[in-house]
């Protein structure tokens, strides 16, 4: 095995002793000698070594003397053996290393002044350290730069053939997009097939390249490292919570870099179970929106002639006056508010506080309502845990991973690396049930192509198979015999004919999958939009909990049910109580005592739980005229929801629509007042990632023109409305949260989770279970195609479409993706226009072949709406959680 046992705790190897520079060291037999040496705290030069992958041994820098050997040996590829006597320093070694540097430099162009690596280059450092000042016969390669790829340029003149880029792409990303390639006597690093790169564009290769051979097109030649200010912050795109360095100059953001870099090569591979420090394409290359020229620079007020800029003083005066008047006339419930989960915890907290105190309404909701609340509510209800049960480390070390309804490589790319590491390093089996053959499905041991939209039936099939095949856990089921009996009866009512027809898989497949899952000591279920954003998402999550419970995986350490939220701080939105049913800390709003506690803390009485309203209910009340003023913070329902929900009518009906956003969105255009907000890069605060870890967000830039951070606007509004909110900084809000939710900010570590399903299984389970295993309605034969509107790797919501870098990588193509065989059958060519008809609408557009899609399914990226494809979907609201499901529909496709 190519593993380095020292850093893979699961690999068995006998312990040995050896001597390093006179010091006795313990190690495992056969591990890299370099690792043993660096464990002693010594750093010897190494240009091709990185702890995240196996030693490659090409640079010749890590030389050491081993007793009994005449010549120095490369310690990275040498294996530690018992009794070795190793010397790491000395004149001879220094000269040997110097020779290695000189060897690299004789074919080097030495164009440091124009090289993007200048000042952050290992070869430069080594030349300096070893005093290489005079090179005779230097003969640069004189190759043209390879600019065929998107984003990345390859300048092979500077390449030292260390292989780090190839290795990280193969071992860590498991994309394997790069290779060495010999052309006219010179070895190059090229994309597979010697063409432009086709890959995930994570940029990890760029991060680990120790020289300037791989460069970033988006920041080519525009910086020198010493000109940039480096701010550590947290990525605002998805909930993986990656740490990033935002590097800014006077001209704005110049590049984004990651903790993963050739400079941090001396890590412990065991630590990568928690993360390798890299970023995905969105985090690394999608920064352009931050200082985009499209940003809102001043508050706008709608006048007869369109939007006119106004001063903050004037606008706030207007907004406060209007709100006060509406409240006086119609009561506080004439006002409602929605906020995006891309805001910080502090802002989310303050927003719900503003709505509930200064305004006095419980009509407040966040974008976590689009799906994540289905998950947290179900888990809170069933297991007493309002968030994912497994952190990164548990995912990495699971024996079996069951991925249902998640395109993890697309939606949560860095979390997907944990699944990849589980597969690669820890030998996990992965069962991936999806209708798209996503990258993770291609790597999985058990890729199951199930019919689109059949996740719910597939989960039911798994539970049924577990019960029928007696794969249940004795202890877990005997502890709640009534519940188990009810479950048995419920799944007994499902027919395999229906389930197999719906999912397109056989009973045998379900049995095999569930057996694998049930028999693994550590098994984790990962679900996402394919479950939580679908019809009956809440019930489906509960069914997953059933599956974990009957197989004894609910309370066992290292096991659990987890979901991958899409936006950066959806978990935070739930935790901060930005939902009518929740208070901060996920206390129930209906709970008199909890409400009392917050009422005391906030020195004000809180509105009664009735009338409350969730997102869809708020829009309905706007339409009915009950709600007269709507305050939208970063939310853009017009571009998100299908037209059939009547969202436009709702927004046009209200008397006061206030939009607070960094950009003028579709919804913003309908607003009466638009307030310019800042992006995460200008904010101070925290995000809670999917693990439940609270990460710092730090301001890298001053706010753009007149824009202000959201919390400041809330505080000003609250104070203006007569409820003093005297916060000077985001930290003041943080202190208040700390007081109310002690322990929430244990920055750095995810909190452990203990599931407590006992109460749930005893009370009420038996009554509700039957409904959850109802078969549901049949698919409509007249509309044979399943249309999924989903996320692609290069984008996140609508925000990323403002980042020119990501749009270059993945522009709006306006094409419907279909299986090539379906296209052939319908005789649709790339230039043909098809008409796509759903129950309520139809659009015309061109198509594009995508062999990863199952037959009978089609896909359109949710980030774009040209043509208005989202309007095809109807919207079904979950009866329990009020989550709208509108990303999936059945359509008929005909050639035009």
């Amino acid at each position: 095995m190519a593993l380095k046992p020292v850093t893979s705790p699961d690999v068995e190897a006998p312990p040995i002793r050896l001597t390093v520079d006179g010091q006795q060291v313990e190690a495992k037999q056969g591990v890299s000698l370099y690792d043993v040496i660096s464990q002693t705290g010594k750093t010897i030069p190494a240009m091709c070594y990185h702890y995240t992958f196996d030693p490659f041994g090409s640079c010749g820098m890590c030389l050491v003397m081993v007793e009994g050997k005449k010549a120095p040996v490369r310690s990275c590829t040498a294996k530690a053996e018992a009794g070795m006597v190793v010397r790491c320093e000395g004149e001879d070694l220094f000269l040997a290393r110097k020779k290695a540097v000189e060897k690299h430099l004789t074919v080097h162009p030495l164009d440091c002044p124009v090289c993007d690596a200048d000042g952050h280059c290992e070869l430069q450092d080594m030349a300096f350290q070893h005093g290489v000042t005079n090179l005779v016969n230097a003969k640069p390669k004189g190759l043209p730069e390879d600019r065929r790829s998107l984003v990345l340029d390859f300048n092979m003149n500077r390449c030292i053939l260390c292989g780090e880029c190839i290795n990280i792409c193969k071992d860590v990303q498991m994309v394997d997009a790069l290779q060495f390639f010999k052309k006219e006597g010179t070895t190059h690093v090229v994309a597979k097939g010697d063409e432009g790169l086709v890959c995930e564009f994570c940029g990890d290769c760029l991060a680990v390249c120790p020289v300037g051979a791989i460069t970033n097109k988006y920041s080519k030649y525009v910086y020198k490292p010493w000109q940039l200010k480096k701010t550590t912050s947290t990525c605002a795109y998805c909930a993986d919570g990656c740490q990033m360095y935002i590097e800014t100059s006077g001209k704005g953001v110049q590049r984004v870099t990651s903790p993963l870099s050739w400079k941090n090569k001396w890590g412990d591979r065991a630590e990568t179970a928690k993360g390798h420090g890299g970023l995905c394409v969105r985090g690394r290359f999608g920064f352009q929106y931050i200082d985009s020229k499209e940003r809102l620079g001043a508050p706008l007020v709608r006048t007869e002639e369109g939007f006119a800029p106004r001063s903050w003083f004037e606008v706030m005066d207007t907004v406060i006056g209007r709100l006060k008047a509406l409240k006086a006339q119609h009561g506080p419930n004439a006002i409602a508010g929605l906020i995006t989960a891309r805001c910080t915890n502090e802002e989310l907290y303050l927003f719900q506080k503003l709505m509930r105190t200064a305004i006095g309404t419980n009509q407040v909701d966040s974008s976590a309502r689009y799906g994540h609340l289905n998950f947290t509510r179900a888990l809170q209800h069933a297991a007493g845990v309002g968030r994912v049960m497994n952190g990164y480390e548990e995912i990495t070390k699971a024996n079996v991973l069951l991925l249902i309804g998640t395109d993890i490589t697309e939606t949560n790319p860095v979390a997907s690396l944990r699944v990849k590491e589980a597969i690669r390093v820890y030998g996990a089996q992965a069962i991936v049930a999806t209708s798209r053959m996503t990258n993770i499905a291609k790597l999985a041991s058990h890729p199951l192509r199930i019919a689109a939209g059949s996740e719910r039936s597939f989960i039911q099939a798994l539970v049924k198979a577990a019960v029928e095949e007696d794969l249940v856990d004795e202890a877990a089921t005997t502890a709640a015999p009534e519940a188990f009996a009810a479950l048995k009866a419920a799944v007994g009512g499902l027919s395999w004919d229906v389930l197999t027809a719906r999912t397109g898989t056989s009973r045998a497949v379900a049995v095999e999958s569930v057996r694998l899952y049930a028999e693994a000591p550590k098994a984790v279920i990962l679900c996402a939009e394919g479950v939580t954003r679908q019809v009956e998402g809440y019930a489906s999550v509960l069914n997953l909990v059933d599956l974990a419970w009957v197989t004894g995986k609910l309370t066992r350490p290292g096991c659990g049910v987890s979901a991958l939220p899409e936006e950066a701080n959806e978990q935070g939105a739930v935790d901060m109580g930005v939902a009518p049913e929740l208070l901060p800390g996920q206390a129930l709003y209906g709970d008199e005592e909890a409400r009392g506690k917050f009422a005391t803390a906030w020195r004000c009485s809180l509105p009664p739980p009735d009338p409350s309203a969730t997102l869809m209910e708020i829009l309905k009340r706007c339409r009915d005229g009950g709600i007269k003023a709507l305050y939208l913070v970063g939310e853009n329902p017009l571009a998100t929801l299908p037209a059939s929900t009547g969202v436009r009518e709702a927004l046009e009906k209200v008397e006061l629509l206030v939009c607070q956003d960094p950009f003028l969105t579709e919804t913003g255009r309908l607003a009466h007042v638009v307030l310019p907000a800042t992006t995460f890069a200008e904010k101070d605060g925290t995000f809670t990632n999917l693990e439940g870890k609270v990460n710092r967000v730090r301001p890298a830039l001053e706010p753009y023109e007149e824009a202000r951070p959201d919390w400041e606007i809330f505080a000003a509004l609250g104070t203006g409305l007569g409820y003093p909110m005297e916060y000077e900084a985001a930290q003041d809000v943080q202190r208040e949260i700390m007081k109310l939710l002690p322990g929430y900010y244990n920055l750095g570590e995810a909190r452990p989770v203990i599931a407590t399903p006992e109460g749930y299984l005893r009370n009420g389970f038996a009554h509700t279970v039957a409904v959850r295993y109802a078969a549901g309605s049949e698919a409509d034969g007249a509309r044979p195609f399943a249309l999924t509107i989903g996320q692609v790797l290069y984008h996140s919501g609508k925000l990323s479409t403002r980042a020119s870098g990501l749009v270059q990588l993945y522009p709006s193509k306006g094409r419907l993706q279909m299986n090539p065989e379906d296209l052939a059958q319908l005789q649709i060519g790339p230039q043909d226009v098809v008409r796509v008809t759903s129950a309520g609408a139809s659009v015309e557009l061109r198509t594009e072949a995508n062999p990863d899609l199952a037959r009978g399914t089609c896909f359109f990226p949710e980030h774009f709406n040209e043509p208005p494809i989202k309007d095809l979907a109807e919207c079904v609201v979950d009866p329990t959680t009020g989550v709208p499901a509108f990303k999936f529909t059945r359509v008929a496709i005909e050639k035009h």
């Binding site: 164009d111 124009v114 004189g142 003149n157 020198k224």
Partner: protein, 196 residues
């Protein structure tokens, strides 16, 4: 003069006072200097010859074919002890792969004329000139931008070259072209200088 000087007899003092002896002495000095060649220059009517190594205002230089030498590498900014240089660089849209400075500022009010920037420059794009007359009532004029710096360079190109020779940074155009960087190597278009 009122204080009584020591060691002088009263008589002598009276005599000195009556004969204006002190004025005579002073006049002697004045008169003798009237016939000596003056050491000061009658600036601005008259100007001094300045040595080639003189550190005057900075200018940016072009190659003989008119191309900007500066590659926007920012090493001058890094070397400047008084932090008065600011360089903004980008890829040259007209010549892909070549780097150049889109903006260049030297705050000459802060410059201490150490010449480190000139030494740091890998392409000898910066040089000091013999220009020292740039007094102005508008301080903003003293932040030299790229345009002004190239104007200075153009006007004083000969002095600038002499400065570089004097400081051992350049020998002659033909020879220096051997070691002067052309960045990056694959960018064509820099013609070697004609024999000068």
């Amino acid at each position: 003069m009122t204080a009584k000087s020591e060691g002088k007899s009263l008589l002598r003092e009276v005599w000195d006072a009556l004969s204006f002896s002190e004025i005579r002495t002073a006049m002697r000095v004045v008169l003798s200097h009237m016939f000596v060649k003056p050491v000061t220059f009658q600036y601005p009517r008259e100007k001094r010859t300045i040595p080639d190594a003189h550190r005057g205002a900075l200018g940016l230089l072009r190659y003989d074919d008119g191309a900007e030498r500066c590659v926007g590498c920012d090493l001058c900014e890094a070397a400047c002890p008084s932090r008065c240089i600011k360089v903004v660089s980008a890829e040259n849209p007209e010549r892909p792969l070549s780097r150049y400075a889109t903006e260049f500022y030297i705050d000459i009010t802060k410059c201490v004329f150490c010449g480190y920037c000139v030494e740091a420059c890998p392409v000898n794009a910066l040089a000091m000139t013999k220009m020292y007359e740039y007094a102005t009532a508008d301080k903003r004029q003293l932040i030299f931008d790229k345009k002004r710096l190239y104007e200075v360079g153009e006007k004083h190109i000969e002095d600038a070259k002499r400065y570089l020779y004097a400081h051992n940074q350049e020998k002659n155009d033909a020879e220096s072209f051997q070691y002067r960087y052309k960045f990056p190597h694959q960018v064509a278009g820099l013609t070697p200088p004609q024999d000068s």
